[in-house]
Symmetry: C2
Subunit: 204 residues, 2 copies
């Protein structure tokens, strides 16, 4: 009946970018509206609060990156290769972000999640939920690797959480140090964590 609008997506895009680049607290609703080129009245037509917007932004972002994960973690790819591709992707993506805005940004779930945990319960829960979804990719890759005798991981759920924590910690450090270097060790660290048998495939 009425007209259609893309303001919602423009707002979630702007919010994700701005809050990722700085922080939830330092990003004002006015900033977001300005970047999205949407007036504040429209903002509150679509979202009931700034927190509500951020929750929608995290979900929208997940729906986008999920496709990448489905690709990288396809069961047709050998399990350890999935992980290796993932680590490589993380490095590439952060490299790209650094070129685009001069900063290593880390993971938007983790930085925003740990910023607002004690204040905005909704955002915290959404971040936690999305993290849980992602860990499933790691988990099944690790389970497959274990089934093939490539790693020693009788409990893939726990191992997946460990690898995820290690990656998040490394991303956080990369953000704080504004350096890509820590990200180059992701594979080596994860291989240790997983007890990957035989480090080197001994050339081709």
């Amino acid at each position: 009946m009425p007209r259609v609008s893309d303001a919602k997506e423009k707002l979630t895009d702007a919010a994700l970018a701005l809050i990722w680049e700085s922080s939830y607290g330092a990003t004002s609703v006015d900033d977001i509206c300005a970047k999205a080129n949407v007036k504040k009245g429209s903002f509150y037509h679509f979202f009931k609060s700034k927190a509500d917007l951020e929750i929608a932004a995290l979900e929208a972002n997940w729906q986008r990156v999920k496709q990448r994960w489905n690709d990288l973690f396809s069961p047709t790819v050998p399990p350890l290769q999935r992980l290796e591709d993932y680590f490589e992707y993380v490095l590439q993506r952060q490299t790209q972000l650094k070129e685009e805005c001069g900063l290593v940004l880390g993971c938007p779930l983790c930085s925003v999640g740990s910023e607002v945990t004690t204040q905005e319960a909704g955002i915290r829960e959404k971040a936690l939920e999305i993290m849980g979804r992602f860990v499933k990719y790691l988990e099944s890759a690790i389970r497959d690797a274990h089934a093939q005798g490539l790693v020693d991981a009788p409990d893939p759920k726990i191992k997946a959480r460990m690898v995820y924590a290690y990656v998040q910690g490394t991303l956080a450090h990369a953000r704080i140090a504004n350096s890509l270097e820590p990200l180059r060790e992701l594979k080596a660290g994860a291989w240790g964590l997983l007890g990957v048998r035989q480090s080197e495939p001994v050339a081709a």
Copy 2:
């Protein structure tokens, strides 16, 4: 010549606690002054800005916890025991914090560091500097363990950063999930990361 004051310490104490419990952005100067029972005029007599206060708070906190690290990481303690004691301490401390304020708070360096990185360069640098100081404890423990053939860590510096990243990631996850559970796996994860030889000392 003039009178002495403990307002400085009261302010750094209050700032560290409040910002740790919520966040840098969500903690106002007024909040800090109220908690410290110090008037704002005095605040700006001692510190030139809110960021300046937080930098001082992080440094003051380090000077306090450093003593604990010196104790836990004493060279008189077997190297792997140092790490085990450290993981145990992290769990105990977070348990205590949860009892005191109902929340798993994680690491104040990491949460505040990753919140303000792109905005308050001074805070970021201070957090990074203190992290660097701490990693030295891990590094020498790992180097000693390697020298004794307990772990496979030819490059203790890199391994130390890996273990630290893993611990930080786990703490961040514990904060976001408001759960102590992930912290119980610290030893198992770190042992994997370090390639500790023989998992069990086979009873006494």
